[in-house]
Amino acid sequence: MKKTPTRVWLGIVLIIFSLLALPFALAYAGTAWVRIANFAILYIMLALGLNIVVGFAGLLDLGYIAFYAVGAYVYALLASAHFNLHLPFWIVLPIGAAIAALFGVVLGAPTLKLRGDYLAIVTLGFGEIVRIFLVNLSRPVNITNGPQGITRIDPFTIGSFDFSKPQTLLGIDISGPIKYYYLLLAVTVAVIVVNIRLQNSRIGRAWEAIREDEVAARSMGINTRNLKLLAFAMGASFGGLAGGMFSAMQAFISPESFILVESIMVVSMVVLGGMGNVWGVVLGAVLLSFVPELLRWTVGPVQDALFGRQLVEPEVIRMLIFGFALVLVMLFRPAGLLPSEVRKRELTEHST
């Protein structure tokens, strides 16, 4: 066992401290920035979930947002005025994650035999099917309320502690988004720990073997079918968890939030950061969440000053960044910004 040097500990303490202080610093710039940070954390969670499927097991999933949608809708249906059900979140979140995992298996089972690019298209189709159902399942029985979406979703509450309401604790004013920030941070840290532990576990190594060479992995006695299904299920459950939290945080969801582009955004985060490397994925998610927002706040005013009007919508810039991130990373740094060791070897080695 190597002894961890004091400097590393110091660094970790510093990071923890700055993460804890971050929302208050951001709140100075405006509550909007705290919300942006919250979304960044949600995306980290999503990207880490997708990383299990894409990064660890090497299965490109382009319909990942469907699981996020399942989690979000399960929460919205079981904890809102829509069906007049108000179950507490510690019951609903696990249900959402479990149902999302079930969807993951449903998607995974028929696609087990498919190779990479086919799988990508099928998952994409699956994501679209889920979205079409969300839009249309308002008739004949109103389940999803169609394109209008579901409103007045319950926030997280523990006893009288309501995450959506501002409060003064120990003389410090804490707004709703700041409370959610800490909650999201805690859950994400847990997700990161699970991811890292998974990667070095028996399961993680088996996934890696499947990714490198499925036939070889099977001949070594790895049950490729179950492990691939497990990857889908685990990835999906993280998506479902993130979806539930999104639902509670927003108090409103509609099919609009779960379009194909969202799936591609999460894929971009994983690819940019480095498939298979937990810290790379976190970096990718943080970059692709914050940079577009920064641009939104800078490019907009600059355009106003130069041309007197908005020439390019911030949303377009955001999407162009995602597109270029995917293309440029693949062309110039295929293993991502922070590549995982194995992946680096694999992606720089030219196959014939």
Partner: protein, 327 residues
């Protein structure tokens, strides 16, 4: 019977457009085993360029046919250029990279193209101006319009032209040789890079025309139209057997039919009131009411269901050959 024939006509029209778009996917896949994810966006750009030109010329008083022809001939070179640029800048450098790399690039390109189109044309829907005098014919109780006839005829002509090109010309021979074995084709004196670029260009040109036809049929074009159309066409290509040119044609037409008939009948089949043992329990059924589980608004689901079913049951497609590596 009337519904059946009518949906058959509609399905055939949409299906022949899917077939032409599917050709773009299947040609590229056949030659370099790449899903050119951005092909749907090329089709969209074709429709947008053509619609812009058509809308400019429409008030000029030229005959409708000439306007549409000029619009289309403006769209074709633009799309060819885009197709070539995609291949040259994004796919060629990754030709020997692991398979996932060009696929991810392709997804990125499709996002880029879609949002560049948004920059150029904004979110507005471009409408097809009322210049073509719509005439309808009644055939065995189904109505078919002159536009539908024209679309089907043009698609058949293009497919026939492509088949001639691929199976009867030197270029076609070179394409097929490259598809079989790039290295050997290279040794035989075929400029592989050029052949691959030409494949992209031809696919893009077909896509441009298909985009115009699709837009004309539905009367609108928008920057988002490429992704779903592309996906459906891709499903069609897979249905027929990806990499197989006759397969793409067959798959496109079949997919159009499945979609049209599915949309036409799904409401009837899932109307729970027609099942006597259920109808008694549903209030909505009293007095001849309906309780339709899934209506025609689920039309878009069919293409994806077909795609998933084909890949699960017969991954090589209807006309494809079984390749060990493919499944």
């Amino acid at each position: 019977m009337d519904t059946f024939l009518q949906q058959l006509v509609n399905g055939l029209t949409a299906g022949s457009v899917y077939a032409v778009v599917a050709l773009g996917y299947t040609m590229v896949y056949g030659i370099i085993q790449l899903i050119n994810f951005a092909h749907g966006e090329v089709v969209m750009i074709g429709a947008m360029v053509a619609f812009t030109v058509i809308n400019l010329l429409a008030p000029g008083g030229l005959p409708a046919l000439a306007v549409v022809l000029i619009g289309t001939s403006a769209a074709i070179p633009v799309c060819m250029l885009v197709g070539y640029a995609l291949e040259r800048l994004a796919y060629r450098p990754l030709r020997h990279a692991p398979r996932l790399a060009p696929l991810i690039t392709a997804i990125g390109l499709s996002i880029i193209l879609q949002h560049l189109a948004l920059l150029v044309w904004s979110r507005n829907i471009l409408a097809f101006p009322q210049i073509i005098e719509l005439r309808t014919f009644s055939v065995l109780g189904a109505t078919i319009s002159n536009v539908q006839v024209a679309i089907i005829a043009i698609c058949i002509a293009m497919m026939a032209g492509l088949a001639l090109l691929v199976y009867k010309t030197r270029l076609g021979t070179a394409m097929r040789a490259t598809a079989q074995n790039q290295q050997v084709a290279g040794l035989m004196g075929i400029d592989v890079n050029r052949v691959i670029a030409v494949t992209f260009i031809i696919g893009a040109a077909l896509g441009a025309v298909a985009g115009v036809l699709f837009g004309t049929y539905y009367g609108i074009a928008q920057y988002t139209m490429g992704s779903v159309l592309g996906l459906k066409a891709f499903s069609a290509a897979v249905l027929g057997g990806i990499g197989n040119i006759p397969g793409a044609m067959l798959g496109g037409v079949l997919l159009g039919l499945v979609e049209a008939l599915g949309a036409g009948y799904i409401g009837e089949f899932t109307d729970l009131c027609q099942y006597a043992w259920l109808a008694g329990h549903i209030d909505a059924c009293r007095g001849g009411g309906h309780f339709i589980l899934f209506g025609s608004n689920y039309q878009d689901v069919f293409a994806f269901l077909v795609l998933i079913l084909v890949l699960v049951l017969r991954p090589q497609g209807l006309l494809g050959e079984r390749v060990g590596d493919r499944a």
